[in-house]
């Protein structure tokens, strides 16, 4: 079971990182979503998988007898799910707004904030426009 999950997590990480390196913003977004799910499974598997042993102290006992399913990774996953839900919602809204305002979802075209305006192909054009006003 652990091996199957490990392979699944590996595949999910691969897909996520591959998508995040694509030029299309929507693919990057889907990559992010898959990444957060891959990590949730990762936390779950690393918490050690135990079948049919809930972390409940049986009647008459005073302490848990190992092996038992560790509840803490599940609490962590719950927190991580809530956080990634909020973050993803924001990312979707941001990308939609960016697509509407910038008119493209191709990351290669989003280079205005990376390079000096001076080296930008439209720079001289923009400059002369400014002076024209």
């Amino acid at each position: 079971m652990t091996l199957a999950l490990a392979l699944l997590i590996g595949v999910l990480f691969t897909i996520a990182l591959y998508l995040m390196m694509r030029r299309n913003l929507v693919k990057v977004l889907i990559g992010l979503i898959i990444l957060s799910n891959a990590i949730n499974l990762f936390i779950f598997t690393l918490g050690r998988l135990v079948r049919g042993r809930p972390p409940l102290i049986p009647a008459g006992e005073t302490a848990l007898q190992p092996p038992y399913a560790d509840p803490l990774p599940q609490a962590l996953i719950l927190t991580a799910i809530v956080i990634s839900f909020g973050v993803t919602a924001f990312a979707i809204a941001l990308m939609r707004q960016a697509y509407q305002v910038l008119g493209t979802s191709d990351l290669n075209e989003l280079r205005d904030t990376d390079i000096q305006p001076r080296y930008h192909p439209d720079y001289h054009h923009a400059e002369s426009e400014e002076e024209g006003h």
Binding site: S36, I39, A98, L102, T113, Q116
Partner: protein
Amino acid sequence: MGDYLVLFPLIVPLFFAILSLFAWRAITWQRVLAVAGTLILFSSGLALLDVVTREGIRTVQIGNWPPPYGISLVVDAFSALMVVIAGGLAVLIAIFSLGSMDEARLRYGFYPLFFVLLMGVCGAFITGDIFNLYVWFEVMLMASFVLIALGGERAQLEGALKYVILNLLSSALFLSATAVLYSLTGTLNMADLSIRLRTTIAPDLVTTVAVMYLIAFSIKAAVFPLFFWLPASYHTPPVTVTALFSGLLTKVGVYALIRVFTLLFLADVAFTHTLILVLGGFTMVTGVLGAAAQYDIRRLLSFHIISQIGYLLMGLGLFSQPALAATLYFMAHVIIAKAVLFLIAEVMYRMGGSFDLRHLGGFYQAYPWLALGFLLPALSLAGIPPLSGFFGKLALVQAGLAQGQFGIVSVSLAVSLLTLFSMTKIWNEGFWKPAPKELRPLSGSMGQRVALILPIALMGLITLGLGLGAEPVYAFAEQAAAQLLDPGAYVAAVIGGLP
């Protein structure tokens, strides 16, 4: 009472964030709340600093769960220092925002976000639980995501996209590393982790986790070669927001690096800390060389943020008491000096109509006091005595020489010179050369103009004060560094009774 004080850096920003939400339509009230709230945060930080100096590390166990089962909040001298700096910067930025933030952004929740950001930052400084640190990072990031995009200008949206995607990737790494750490040790409490990692069965895996944390925090702290999101996004929001980010966000990344690499990952210091030292050297050089090519003041200063992060890493990489003390002193210096340069850029923009140095000029002739306000932090960053940067760098260089690390020492000195070069560039282009077009005096009411100028003047005085009064500040930094190098004291304070 002293222990409840630990909660103040969380409760105060939360309380004021909620109050500002209630005052959604009443902008004037939000402004009053912003200044009042940050002042209270700052003073509670000072009170905390005082308690920690007198009585040692203070802790609070949330929900009264005995450690290591619940979340511990821990304030040592380093945390308290960071809360004070964050609070102090918040006060100054809050005052500056009174004059600089436009009505539209205020109507869409600038101040509530400002307080949520502060809560996330302070939470990261005082938590003693590694997963809780992740949660505070997310609180801080979420607020910063909205702040960077608030206003929705073209450049802002584009910058925000890059900022959001890379920071989410960094959070993903952070979370994965935490999962591995939990499976190795079965605990998330940093004090407990510190004990268990010393006697772990898999030291190689611990080093792997350490490097995962190093990468995750290095993205947040904008360390070479993971800094590219910073100059692509930091110059896009209003300068008030940039100044806040430059002072706090990357420094939280550095704080987290210092915390985990002094408390948790000490198994293979020869490898991890040397790696940090090398990264620090490259960060200094690439940052300052990037800055040399810029003409937009905001982009130029953004590259300088990266360069200064390198100095902070240098102290951590050297990993000795004088080096860490120098790093803490440098942190106090750089947060203030960096932020004030951004604020001056905003004032220059308002007078000269541009952020582009080629279109600015004549400020020295027309506004000599503003020129002085620029010169103090600029020379301080370059490391000219008697300003604060000089003592920070001097202490770092001395610590490096004492350990025979001549490589990083010479790099840091050369970078200082280059820093001076790019500060001279701003001076020559922006202040010295004749104005290409007439400078306008600051517009707005008297109150607004005071709000713009007062923080710059205060920060200039702080820079001067940190330099002239270096002795007591440095003595405190040494005490904090000694605490950092003694994880046993941290563990004893949190878990108690154990060695």
